[in-house]
């Protein structure tokens, strides 16, 4: 475990060094990436939980498949971001290195308070990076993000207090091994913890900061936030659910998030906001998987979603820069071939076309869900295909443009992960599975033609409403756990 910690410290040191010597920050960042790769190779075989600091006060860290997967994803994202932002001025790369370092630190954590501090660090760095270009709309999105996540984190902190007061420890690993009594105070505390983590984790009703923040950020940052950072809240939820009886809550939140995000995405016309709503919807898949106890399926979907959503955001950023508009209907024909190709690849992956990672992950996830879960996945898949059908006009290439840079690691990752899935899960190779995937997409296209004329009035989520939603959601989870 100290190898992993050394890797994390290397990231932090590279970030601090980058702030100290701004000229060296890109090289320091690249060095941190190399160090991270080395650390990954060194700690990958060692999984048992280790207390860091020792004694009854120490912090427990542990690696598992989830942490391993997120390490790999983080390092891949680092490659992508370096490729995209190599020439950016200011403290951008140093801040990004620190953000990636925190994303390496959080999956290892098995300590309630350590999770809190890691979440706060990701939040603070995200605020800075969302508002980095000093545009008023982005600053407002960032401030909204800041206020809403702070509300969530206050609830989380109270939850930490209640759980510590009741059980006398902060270590989740210790609680998983020990015996303790579930009672009313604990139910309220765990409900508040879950509400705080859900606010960070982009759950529908809790996280209406997500669409503006992910939609207004610089495009590499949108990719990082949607692909990686928002899942830090999700990891926290998974860690909590491994100890406390939260699986029902996760499944409920998963269905609500999947459907809610999808409804907003179906009628959204702004390209980046559309992708941001889809991030919410896709988080529902993962919650569903984790709630139903399919750790491998949920993790696989989280990683695959990271890959294709980042690819989509990077391509969307380039499309918006080339087309001079954020509206989907105004962008058609203005994209270069390479951007169209990236957008098309991402779309094919997100709607679950074989043989890409989206198809494989959906297959692994569906295989580990019970019957109702499969039907939910089917419905969400049709909806996703229907909402992505409006991107089809964008796939017609226009004038030539810049070649791929940061897209390479993501696209190769999509193909490699898809290939790995197909070669390890034999059921994915059957013609029935391929036919089903194509059928879902065709059905979605049909729905799109029907839905195009119909514009339901969707409620807008102002700051006050979103705050109230967090409080009500926390209340609902707590009461649900109390009376379950």
């Amino acid at each position: 475990m100290s190898y992993a910690l050394a890797g994390v410290m290397g990231y932090f040191l590279a970030g601090a060094g980058g702030l100290l010597w701004p000229r060296a920050q890109r090289w320091l960042s690249a060095l941190a990436l190399l160090g991270g790769l080395g650390a990954l190779l060194a700690w990958a075989p060692h999984f048992p939980p280790t207390p860091v600091g020792g004694g009854s006060w120490g912090i427990t860290l542990a690696g598992d498949q989830l942490a391993l997967g997120f390490w790999a994803l983080t390092l891949l994202f680092h490659g992508m971001a370096l490729g995209e932002e190599w020439r950016r001025s200011g403290p951008f790369l140093a801040l990004m290195t620190l953000l990636l370092g925190t994303c390496l630190a959080l999956p290892l954590s098995q300590d309630l308070f350590n999770l809190f501090v890691c979440l706060e660090l990701t939040s603070l760095l995200s605020f800075l990076l969302v508002g980095y270009e000093s545009k008023p709309a982005a600053i407002w999105a960032s401030l909204k993000y800041l206020i809403l996540t702070t509300v969530g984190m206050i609830l989380y902190l109270v939850g930490v207090g209640l759980v510590y007061g009741e059980l006398g420890t902060l270590s989740l690993a210790e609680l998983r091994g020990g015996t303790w009594q579930w009672n009313g105070s604990l139910a309220v505390g765990v409900g508040l913890l879950a509400a705080g983590a859900a606010t960070k984790g982009g759950v529908f009703l809790f996280a209406f900061w997500l669409p503006p923040a992910h939609g207004r950020a610089p495009h590499t940052i949108s990719a990082l936030l949607s692909g990686l950072v928002v899942k830090m809240g999700l990891i926290t939820l998974v860690r909590l659910a491994a100890v406390f009886p939260l699986s029902g809550v996760l499944v409920g939140l998963g269905v609500v998030t999947g459907v809610g995000g999808l409804i907003y995405a179906l009628w959204e016309r702004d390209l980046k906001l559309f992708l941001a709503y889809h991030t919410m919807s896709q988080l529902g898949y993962m919650l569903l998987g984790f709630g139903a106890g399919a750790l491998l399926g949920g993790t696989a979907y989280a990683l695959a979603h990271g890959l294709f959503k980042a690819l989509l955001f990077v391509a969307a950023g380039k499309a918006i820069a080339a087309g001079g508009s954020r509206r989907i209907d105004e962008l058609s024909g203005r994209l270069s071939l390479s951007t169209s190709l990236a957008l098309g690849l991402g779309t094919a992956a997100i709607v679950g076309l074989p043989p890409l990672a989206g198809f494989a992950a959906k297959g692994i996830l569906g295989g580990s869900l019970p019957g109702w879960g499969k039907w939910t996945l089917f419905g969400l898949g049709v909806g996703t295909a229907a909402s992505f059908a409006k991107l089809i006009p964008l796939l017609v290439p226009g004038p030539p443009g810049r070649a791929w840079r940061g897209e390479w690691p993501l696209a190769l990752g999509l193909l490699a992960a898809g290939g790995w899935g197909l070669s390890h899960v034999p059921s994915l190779l059957s013609p029935v599975a391929w036919g089903q995937a194509l059928g879902v997409v065709a059905l979605g296209g049909g729905f799109y033609l029907g839905l195009r004329r119909f514009h339901p009035p969707l409620p807008r989520w102002t700051l006050d409403r979103a705050c109230l939603a967090i409080l009500m959601g926390g209340l609902a989870i707590s009461l649900g756990l109390l009376f379950a």
Binding site: F12, G53, G55, L98, L162, L468
Partner: protein, 212 residues
């Protein structure tokens, strides 16, 4: 909306209040003396903050530094407000600053350096030193003080301190460094970090205060 908001918060607060009734009286503390002295401290809070939970503290110092980076970066494109800040000037204040400042400085450094032995530590000491700087700024004018403490030097001190703390913390976490020297050093670094940070926030907020 308003009434509903208060109703929701009241229900939540009531639920939290109800949940705490089961927590008291608190169970007796597990033995803590041996663990405390094992870290080279006499103050158990210092042993937790800079020993057993040094990792958290490291992340927290990073959070603090990021806020300062944000203060600098987000205010950078905004115009600075000209003229003296509207602060009441009085000879009494200047004299008080002359008398009090050395005492504040010594007290701050003392609190940081002895934080592992008794009450104190880098964070409160940094806050005290920062408020000393505030007193000095009120007495001499914030612009004059800002000229004496140039930003590049301060930021170098701050980021250097951060890097040193990460090295120290990384050594403690991965190589098992421990002892009183580590606690003293970490407290002094945190003191430097927090006091310069307080000054940076103060100076930037004063420079961009806008027109009232």
């Amino acid at each position: 909306m308003r009434r509903g908001a208060w109703l929701a918060t009241l229900t939540l607060g009531g639920l939290i209040g109800w949940a705490t009734t089961g927590l008291f009286p608190r169970p007796p503390l597990p033995p803590w003396e041996a663990v405390t002295s094992q870290w080279g401290a006499r103050n158990a809070v210092a042993a937790v903050v800079l020993g057993a939970r040094l990792y958290d503290t490291l992340l927290e110092v990073l959070v603090f530094s990021m806020a300062l980076v944000g203060v600098r970066w987000a205010l950078r494109p905004l115009p600075q407000t000209e003229g003296r800040p509207p602060v009441a000037e009085s000879p009494l204040l200047e004299r008080a600053a002359d008398v009090l400042l050395p005492a504040i400085g010594v007290f701050g450094v003392y609190l940081a350096a002895s934080g592992h032995l008794g009450p104190g530590g880098g964070f409160p000491a940094g806050a005290i030193l920062g408020s000393g700087l505030l007193l000095l700024a009120l007495a001499r004018g914030i612009r004059a003080l800002a000229r004496e403490l140039p930003q590049p030097l301060l930021s170098r001190l701050e980021y250097g301190g951060l890097a040193a703390l990460i090295v120290l913390g990384g050594g403690s976490l991965t190589l098992g460094w421990r002892g009183a020297w580590l606690l003293v050093l970490a407290n002094l670094l945190i003191l430097a970090k927090v006091s310069t940070g307080a000054w940076v926030v103060l100076e930037h907020f004063a420079a961009h205060r806008g027109e009232v």
